[in-house]
């Protein structure tokens, strides 16, 4: 944290003003807290509560992604409310992220949660841009943690020659994902003119980007 330089000629009352201004700014930046559900957990409507056992609270679907050899590209395996219904109401979820050498988890946002990434193996270069447009980047080694604030555009990149693996926790059971390449130039197929005007470029560039992000043609 930055050292605080106090000019000797600064009067006590002007110091007080600085403190009051800091205080006034504080409510802009305050923790809203983590709300409760009104039961311990939520039993699916199709299940008989009497038949719920410990197995309902367990999920083995991440085993493969954690144990697997590194993939060539970037892949993700999730344990969110969609895959693991017991998370409904518990305000937390996981994803396992696997990065082949040189691969990237492309620029994206999560509309409903911050992401707390932990590097399990290898090394990653990560970054995000805050809503004031300021870029933050960091190089991470195995064991390092990095937090991507909710709603900000962020990415992770494996710039090394070895595979990398990370685990991410989210403060929501359903953080949501907006992949920016796919959302902007992918299958959603936003009008070319809208995109060209948004990105202050020509339609040909938009179409080139769309072509690059199109799914590969299926083999006969």
């Amino acid at each position: 944290m930055a050292a605080l330089k106090v000019n000797n000629s600064m009067t006590t009352s002007s110091l007080l003003l600085v403190v009051l201004l800091a205080l006034w700014a504080a409510p802009l930046a305050v923790v809203a807290g983590d709300p409760d559900i009104l039961t311990d957990y939520i039993v699916p409507a199709t299940a008989n509560p009497a038949n719920i056992t410990g197995a309902f609270f367990a999920y083995s679907g991440l085993r493969g992604a954690l144990a697997a050899q590194a993939p060539e590209n970037f892949t993700v395996a999730k344990a969110s409310m969609a895959e693991f219904p017991a998370l409904n109401g518990q305000s937390v979820s996981y994803a396992v992220l696997s990065y082949g050498p040189g691969s990237i988890n492309p620029t994206h946002t999560h509309p409903r949660a911050s992401e707390l990434l932990l590097v399990l193996d290898g090394a990653l270069s990560v970054g995000f841009v805050d809503t004031a447009g300021k870029l933050f980047t960091q190089d991470l080694a195995a064991g390092d943690v990095f937090v991507f604030p909710k709603g900000t555009v962020h990415w992770q990149c494996n710039t090394g020659t070895q595979p990398a693996k990370a685990l991410s926790a989210f403060g929501s059971a359903a953080a949501g994902l907006v992949s920016l390449p796919a959302t902007l130039f992918g299958a959603s197929d936003i009008d070319d003119v809208v995109l060209a005007k948004s990105f202050k470029t020509d339609v040909a560039t938009i179409q080139k980007l769309k072509a690059g992000l199109a799914p590969p043609p299926k083999k006969p």
Copy 2:
């Protein structure tokens, strides 16, 4: 809303299953509500509460944008907590959006609120992409309202030859803004390789996009 076709051969028990499944899905889609502050309003720390008058709760900063002739390009004027401190704790804010003919409010997200847009003058074509990648578009006339869900990528476009004006309300005093062209290819200056890999294109295309979004050179 879709008409519900019930096949005669559908048994009562299978109908029941449908209903229970709908019920089970419902908690995924539930209103979290609008929380309170613990006072009527928040007096800035630098102000004397005894000096607060009705003027503290009033803001005239939107007058110009509402009265002005249409601009050539897209412009926005805000009445959020930053401009209008009395909004602190009130969970609501405004923006006035002015669109020259053919102009666009480029693709963006708001990390902290849904947007409820009302067309005041002219006509707009609007759209958003949900987190499942589905595109929704709509043509709006003066007097029409459209809601952009929180965190989704959205835009508005004045495709006509007349200027247009809209007002947007947000369910937060500080909705935040992530302009995707500026955040991805603008002054934040994300590494070219990160962007090229994210958007599955070459560095030259990224640099072309960055050049298009760069601020114009200052005149001497």
Copy 3:
């Protein structure tokens, strides 16, 4: 923290005390924030999600109120969750308020949201009373914005000879309305003695107020 010694003269440490007292007051006045739903939007149970299009997110029901000539009296048109189901979970809604010359939006409260009023046409005199009983009033011109804190008694009055029109945004999809004349002396028909004792007046005065607020007799 160390025990606080206060010197008799106006010293730095007594200034510190002022600041600490301000700090202690701060948690009383803190933003609770705007909570999320766990999906982008909420599809009504009677609708097939696959059939949802952009039209679901649009509402044209305010067109008339916005375009209409000014009414003789005060009238209101709403775009809340009841009229516009897509607002469910989006924490925001609108109302269009039309005031004939000399008309009033009578004293009322909204139990579930603050109101952010924008004068579209004409001029309004507005006011509210906070929970400490302090009155705040303000004269507003076209383009002005005024915020009425959640739960406070407030009103707007068109004191001029021209019609006026305003738009209000609420930080809830269902702000609720308690009209105080109607609730206290209208069709709910609270016992005359309860009202006479509450308002420290006689039953005759209560009955006179009730008569004035009664609906006009239907014509045969």
Copy 4:
């Protein structure tokens, strides 16, 4: 709860529709839950956390009101965050309500919490009006509990010849109080014309109401 009559000629599919409509209505009426603070309790900024003892969490200010003989009129003693700072962040508070024979707790609202009233001694007639304008009344004996929903206009009346005493709990440390007689016609001094137009009566009636609610003149 009303018995459910099912007509035999009602088809399965129409029953299903009823259920789906009920399901669709459900999200309108859902519990938002009780949020946390991020510490066990909040130590005032002017206090040394090391000096906090059990006494900080105790409050004796209600002893008098609970033990006292019944007053002639209605009186209230509170244990909210203002009187009992340890309640800060605990989302709960109390009030002791004492009613002389024939006295009333006049029509009022609480902007920030529902009220759960328990009759300790005597009998009370209570009522509230919901936001749809529907009146609910009930006669309560000692030991009875009644809930007044947040933001609704409500009152309690001791219609008997014996004194009565009640305790109210609020789901907020700072529920707030809007006394409607005092707010509308008391010291806040809202403009007579605003009130006359709101209540569809003449200025003379407003002035009569104001006179009745004015504080008694101080003795020389």
Copy 5:
């Protein structure tokens, strides 16, 4: 943070630093507020809203516990959402606690609300342990109030020779209860070895504790 040394030569700038450190600590201890439902109250799905009367909002189930002679042991009667459905969505509930001479409300936690206890009759010794392991105890007389922060281990003890009675309010309609003797050593029947290792004792001691907490054998 390092221990705070205050010496006589403390400069204004170091005082400022103290204040800024206090300010920085403040967001750790901030009120999250009390959220709303989006209706005034919640009608059970099995009831016809048109048939709801004042009786729906009233509950007489505490009359017996409040009027009864003191029991030999500790007993509790609740008015929470389970017993009193109108509390659904109102974020508040009650319990009546009756203590025979020498009896105890054993160590427990409430996962979803703070408890605000009011001594109605007699005297109680109460205590809780915060999450830092610090013990807080207090002796309470009739009319005294004590707040037990959410989630902390707490208890009340009637150490006198007279019966005692208390009322507790909770800032949730469903505070939940984890009785620690019953949960740890009672019918849930946690494995003896898990408990012996947890409590750093031998299995025989665990089995002795379990035997003491077992329900008495039923008579033939």
Copy 6:
């Protein structure tokens, strides 16, 4: 609710009743959602926002615990708001749990978040007791995930002969910890008689438990 048997003689109306009862139960079990802060992140009051870099959002304090050889006993390393200030307002945190063969993470609760445990190495037996007193246990292998609902008593046990390691994510930046052995019988030093009465045992047994949990005497 009992398992749902649908037989042919069940009438449509009784099926409808089952569905309506399920619907009525639903609001008891609803997601409250994950609230926002009103900024992207919270800069400590002692820091200059302009000096914040990517390093502020990174934390290396878990490296040691993740890389270390297994300990003899159970140990924990945390990345919560206390250790990693950037988590303030982000509603998520981590802990690394290391278990020697035969060791246990003793019975405890977290007052402010659910825990989502992922087994990184080895095998664990885990369990929790819900507020209805029902025990849930499960054996977990490497790669398995288990969710412990907020506020419930839970534990993990390494019953094997190999060390084990796990990572836990919490849906709060400050989940809090109540270790039940330490809180009940440890340094907080609750009165022996309170404990003996709570646990329905004799003071000697309480003192034996306290002795077992006392810290080892310091060497001279």
